[in-house]
Structures are given as structure tokens and as C-alpha cells.
């Protein structure tokens, strides 16, 4: 069995000063270099913050490491990692 699983990382970006694009770009730079597979991403405007959810697959260890790296981004406020049930991941991948 492969140890690759799908996860959602949710994080907030502080956007009150500059609208949040720089923080988002910096976060994407971090994701680009992580040993994971990127599926998709959604960004929602929540006023002072932008709420990001990132759907990715990878080893638990690498996903957790990515979450820690994201927390280091100055604009990033809070990071949560959720494992996606595989059925949901399959549906998400086929819709």
C-alpha cells in the first residue's frame, strides 16, 4: 500500500495591509518546493484575511513539514492540516 494520501491544508493570510497577494505568492513558493503533489487551491476573501485551502497529496511527514513551513511565512496566521477521506478525494478528483 502506498503511503501517499490526500490532504487539505487550510490557512489564513493577513491581508489588511496589502490585500494579501504577496503573502499568497510567498506561500505558493513554499508549496512549490515541497515534495508533494498539488491538486487545487481555493482562496476566499474574508475581509482582513484571505482564507486558503490547498488540496495536495503526499506522505504524512512531508505534508506536516509543509504545514510548518507555511506557518513561518510572515503573513500566514493559522495553518490546519486535514486528511481527506479517500472516497472524497476520488470524487473530488473526478468532478
Amino acid at each position: 500500500m502506498s503511503d501517499i494520501e490526500t490532504y487539505v491544508i487550510k490557512f489564513s493570510i493577513y491581508a489588511a495591509i496589502d490585500g494579501g497577494l504577496d503573502g499568497l505568492a510567498r506561500a505558493i513558493h513554499v508549496v512549490r518546493k515541497a515534495p508533494i503533489q498539488f491538486h487545487d487551491m481555493a482562496v476566499i476573501d474574508a475581509g482582513k484575511t484571505k482564507e486558503v485551502s490547498l488540496r495536495i497529496s503526499g506522505k504524512k511527514k512531508d505534508i506536516e513539514w509543509l504545514a510548518k513551513k507555511l506557518e513561518k511565512v510572515v503573513e500566514v496566521l493559522e495553518v490546519k492540516v486535514q486528511k481527506m477521506p479517500s472516497e472524497v478525494a476520488i470524487i473530488a478528483a473526478h468532478t
Binding site: 489588511a16 495591509i17 504577496d22 505568492a25 513554499v30 518546493k33 506557518e71 513561518k72 510572515v74 496566521l77
Partner: protein, 577 residues
């Protein structure tokens, strides 16, 4: 107040009174106001040098980052290598760049580059000031971010139409800054977790051969004394990474020196054969342990780091403690002494074995080989002649590895080298930055001919500002370390390593009004180094045989075990990488 005045006032208030840079149209509005402020601007001859000088200034001062000024476009992009260098070695610095005016931004204006975008992955933080009144907030944020927690470089980009805008000067308090401007940034590291400290303590007292691996973080968190105290309780050896060499005094009886690809044999022996490794403020670079999986075998590892993303990144520890190094080591020692009532009276057995192995290896390594003055003998003279608190910087290459092996650091904070990025050209401008930070100390750049050529135009800066530093050039007419790799691992095919048509370095120095010498024997070398020790600016052209390989060496990808140490060129035959 004008934005330019506000920025300079902010620098003054933050104690950032030295800046290295080059002006251009996007920051002339800033330069215009410099004479009205207590900010000293040093003209470098290339912005890469400005960044390295600022980085070195921060490495020496620790809580006061150096500042680099550059104009937009090419000025800003010339800083990139310096920012990446500082980032990899966690050195605090602040780059302040001019940007094209807001009205034409994004339209490929003259000298426009998106330097905030360019530097995102190689800075701790970078930001564009979007409103004139934000300038004081931006400087305050840059200072806090650069020096707290794990230090690093920060870039602040300011559109040039802002310089002459009139604003009300506002100085945000620390609380306002953290709450309203950078709420996602935590300047204070977490306290060490007590149960993890207990676990670590238990491992250390039960170990037969515990070894302490010190990284650059020990310097950044002022942890030197705590680490030495802990080592003395455990009677355990200290080995260092290349960056950690700057963090502990080499003449302490428990310090075995730096481990790694070109580490000292006794240090590699101890680190490899330890049963428990206490790693402090290091990211376990591949250059330190060689091969993560092989290194990990048969050991328990305790890893203390301020950056939680470093724990488990390269090596999965048995105990990972996220905390400030000084704090964690202090608590750990107190627990070992007070709760476990533990103190070893005799050195752990591995020290004797490591030293015996070292003696065996050094006897082979220090046999006469090659023509002319030997690097290890020259560096011995350097150490003898420089006072303990002199600052040494290095370029990157064979000479850097020779210095790592044979120049013992006696006072922490006096050895600046580009470890993480391995940036040729770092040494000389770093020496200038170090001299600006510590004008009373002699400063010597131990450089390569190739490395020095990359940033030697800053000889003019040395002369102009009387920033007297010495340069000891390992003049081997070669990119020697490249030649060595080609000889050892790439079929002896020497391609692109021959530095034909080098300048006469003595004449080069003279042409900038700086003295140069070419010592022909050890006595003359000693006299030359003595002049640097006395504070003269001097270029010393040390002619060295390019075929004297830097040894010992561990081939890339191989673990730092005694069997893998290459002690003679013949021993390397047949190794594939």
C-alpha cells in the same frame, strides 16, 4: 516630514546607523537626505558586495542587522546573491531598494524589476511599501523580523515617488506593530517542552558516548556558555558544523573541531560513532553528515532548533525540541544537575578514541606534498599572528576548506564564511562589513584567487573609507576545489578550472592605493600577517600549488565514517559519486 527623512529617522531610532550601497535614480530621493541624519553610508563598488557587507555586519553585531541600499532594477537584482547567502546562513540584514514610481509600476518602466517577487523564496520576508505613511512601520517590521527568532534577511522596496511625499511621522509601538502590521509573526520562540527536556536528559545521562553537535544557531542565540557548561557536566565532546565553528572556542578541551565533508578526522570520528547526538541549532546539512540514512543508524538523536520546520526535515530525531538554544540547553543542564544529580568525572571514552584516530589521520595528512608553502603551515602562522579576537572571513573553495581545517576560532563570532550557499566572492566584502561593525579588530579575508576576483572591485571602498582589512589570497591559478572534484570524481578531466590570465594581485592592490606583498617564505608570510594584525590594509598574494588537494575529504553522498575519509589522493581512486 518627508518619507526620505522618516525612513532615515526610523533607521536611526532602530540603531541602524551603517548602510552599504550604491545610489541610482530610484533611491536618490533617499540619498538626498542622508547628510541630515546620523546614518553612515558606505559606497560599495557592486551591490553584491553591499549585501555581503551588510550580512557580515549583522553576523558580527547579531542584534543589529546591516543595511544595504540599492536602486531599482539592476541595483536590486545585484543584491540577490547576497540575500540568498544571508538567508541560507540565517544572518540578519535589511535591504532597502528604490522602486519605480507607483503610477508606472508593472508597465516595464525603466529599471523596473519586481524585486519583492524575485526575492520571496530567498528572504525571511520582503515587502513593497504601498503607502507613504507605512514607511516607519516597514522599517520597524524589517528590524524585528530580521533579528528575532531565526534571523534572516528582509527586503523593503519603496517606490521612488514616495521619497518627497510629506507624512506625519508616526512611530508604532511594539504591540501595535505586531498586532496591526505582522500578526502572523511571532518574535519569541516557544519555551522548551519540559517532558521532552526530561526525555533528552535521560538519553544523555544514560549514553555511553554522547556527542554534542553545534550549529550556527548556538551563535545566534548566545548559547555558547550554556553549551560549554553542559558539555562539562556530560564530559562529552563538542563537534561543530561549518557554521558552528563560529560558535565555540576551539581551544576548549572538549571541542574536537568541525565535522563534515572536509571535517577534522577526530570530529567526524566522534560524531559518526556517538550513541547519542545532541544537535543544537543546526539543520543537519548534507555537507555535515554526508548521508542521512547511513548516519542515522545506531544512534539516538536529540535535536534542538528554534525553527520547527528544521526538526525532522533531514533527520528524524528521537527527541525534537523547538526552542531557543540557550534557553533549552540551560533547562536541560539544570535538569541533569538538579533533578538527576548527574555529573561525569571523566571524559566519555569516545574522546580518546577520536583523538587517537585523529593522530593517525593527521600523520598521513600533514606529510610534505606539493611545491611551495603549505596551506596548513601558512594558516598556523595566521593564527599565531592574529590576536584571538581578530575576525576572519573566507571565500569559497579549497582555501575555505583549508581555513575550516586549520584556522582555529578562539573567540566565537570571529569567523564568517558562506556555509549554506557557498558563495564565491563573499569573503572580501564581508571583511569590509565586519570591519565597519568592529573597527577596533583586525580583519583578514582568507580568499581564493577565483573568489576574490568576483568582488575585488571593493578594494576602492577599503581605501576610500579607511576600512583596513587584509586579504590573504590563495593564488593557485585555479578553481582548485573544482579541479580536485574533476581529478577525483570526473575522470581527471580538467575543464574550466584554469584561471589563466590572472591579474598581478600586488599591482592590482597598488592600483587602488593599497599595498600588496608576495611572500616567498614563511618568515615573509609571518611579517605580512603581522602587518594585518596591526591594522594595515594589505593584499597578500600567497602563491600555492593547485595540486595540493584539500584533504581529508568525504566523497559527496557518503557518510562521514572513518572508512570513508579520503586521506590521500590515491585512496580516492575508483570512488564514484
Amino acid at each position: 516630514m518627508l518619507v526620505s527623512d522618516a525612513l532615515l529617522e526610523a533607521l536611526e531610532r532602530e540603531g541602524l546607523k551603517v548602510a552599504f550601497g550604491i545610489p541610482g535614480s530610484a533611491n536618490l530621493g533617499l540619498y538626498e537626505k542622508i547628510p541630515d541624519h546620523n546614518v553612515n553610508v558606505i559606497l560599495m563598488r557592486h551591490e553584491q558586495g553591499a549585501a555581503h557587507a551588510a550580512d557580515a555586519y549583522g553576523r558580527v553585531k547579531r542584534k543589529v542587522p546591516g543595511v544595504a541600499f540599492a536602486t531599482s532594477g539592476p541595483g536590486a537584482t545585484n543584491l540577490v546573491t547576497g540575500l540568498a547567502t544571508a538567508y541560507m546562513d540565517s544572518a540578519p540584514m535589511i535591504a532597502i531598494t528604490g522602486q519605480v514610481p507607483t503610477a508606472i509600476m508593472g508597465r516595464d518602466a525603466f529599471q523596473e524589476t519586481d524585486v519583492v517577487g524575485v526575492t520571496m523564496p530567498i528572504t525571511k520576508h520582503s515587502l513593497l511599501v504601498r503607502k507613504p505613511e507605512h514607511v516607519t512601520w516597514a522599517v520597524r517590521a524589517a528590524k524585528v523580523i530580521s533579528v528575532t527568532n531565526r534571523p534572516g534577511p528582509v527586503l523593503v522596496d519603496i517606490p521612488r515617488d514616495f521619497w518627497r511625499k510629506d507624512i506625519d511621522f508616526y512611530w508604532p509601538s511594539d504591540e501595535e506593530l505586531l498586532k496591526e502590521w505582522i500578526p502572523g509573526y511571532n518574535p519569541t520562540p516557544p519555551k522548551p517542552n519540559p517532558s521532552l527536556i526530561m526525555k533528552a536528559a535521560k538519553l544523555l545521562v544514560e549514553a555511553e558516548n554522547p556527542v554534542i553537535l553545534v550549529g550556527g544557531g548556538v551563535w545566534w542565540s548566545y548559547a555558547t556558555d550554556e553549551v560549554l557548561k553542559l558539555a562539562e557536566i556530560l564530559m562529552a565532546p563538542i563537534v561543530t558544523t561549518l557554521m558552528g565553528k563560529n560558535a565555540v572556542p576551539a581551544d576548549h578541551p572538549l571541542v574536537l573541531g568541525n565535522a563534515g565533508m572536509h571535517g577534522r578526522p577526530e570530529a567526524n570520528y566522534a560524531l559518526y560513532n556517538a550513541d547519542v547526538v545532541l544537535a543544537i541549532g543546526t539543520r543537519f546539512s548534507d555537507r555535515t553528515v554526508g548521508n542521512f540514512e547511513e548516519f542515522r543508524k545506531g544512534k539516538k538523536i536529540i535535536h534542538i532548533d528554534i525553527d520547527k520546520s528544521e526538526i525532522g526535515k533531514n533527520i528524524d530525531p528521537d527527541v525534537g525540541i523547538v526552542a531557543d538554544a540557550r534557553e533549552a540547553v540551560k533547562v536541560l543542564r539544570e535538569y541533569i544537575v538538579n533533578a538527576l544529580k548527574f555529573k561525569r568525572d571523566e571524559e566519555v571514552p569516545i574522546i580518546k578514541k577520536a583523538k587517537e584516530f585523529g593522530e593517525y589521520a593527521w600523520e598521513i595528512l600533514l606529510k610534505e606534498r606539493g611545491r611551495g608553502m603549505k596551506p596548513w603551515k601558512v594558516l598556523k602562522i595566521v593564527r599565531e599572528e592574529l590576536p584571538a579576537d581578530a575576525i576572519v572571513t573566507t571565500g569559497v573553495g579549497g582555501h575555505q576548506m583549508w581555513a575550516a581545517l586549520h584556522y582555529p576560532v578562539l573567540k566565537p563570532g570571529t569567523y564568517l564564511t558562506s556555509g549554506g550557499l557557498g558563495t564565491m566572492g563573499y569573503g572580501f566584502p564581508a571583511a569590509i562589513g565586519a570591519k565597519a561593525a568592529a573597527p577596533d579588530k583586525p580583519v583578514l579575508d582568507i580568499d581564493g584567487d577565483g573568489s576574490f576576483l568576483m568582488t575585488s572591485q571593493n578594494l576602492a571602498t577599503v581605501k576610500q573609507y579607511g576600512l583596513n582589512v587584509g586579504v590573504l589570497i590563495f593564488d593557485n591559478g585555479s578553481l582548485q576545489l573544482i579541479r580536485q572534484w574533476q581529478d577525483l570524481f570526473f575522470g581527471h578531466r580538467r575543464v574550466g578550472e584554469n584561471l589563466a590570465y590572472l591579474p598581478d594581485f600586488v599591482k592590482l592592490a597598488n592600483s587602488f592605493g593599497i599595498e600588496g606583498v608576495r611572500p616567498e617564505n614563511y618568515d615573509e608570510m609571518r611579517k605580512a600577517i603581522r602587518r594585518v594584525a596591526q591594522g594595515e590594509a594589505l593584499v597578500i598574494d600567497y602563491i600555492v600549488d593547485p595540486d595540493i588537494m584539500v584533504l581529508p575529504m568525504v566523497a559527496p553522498g557518503k557518510v562521514i565514517s572513518p572508512e570513508n575519509l579520503i586521506l590521500t589522493p590515491e585512496q580516492a581512486a575508483g570512488i564514484t559519486v
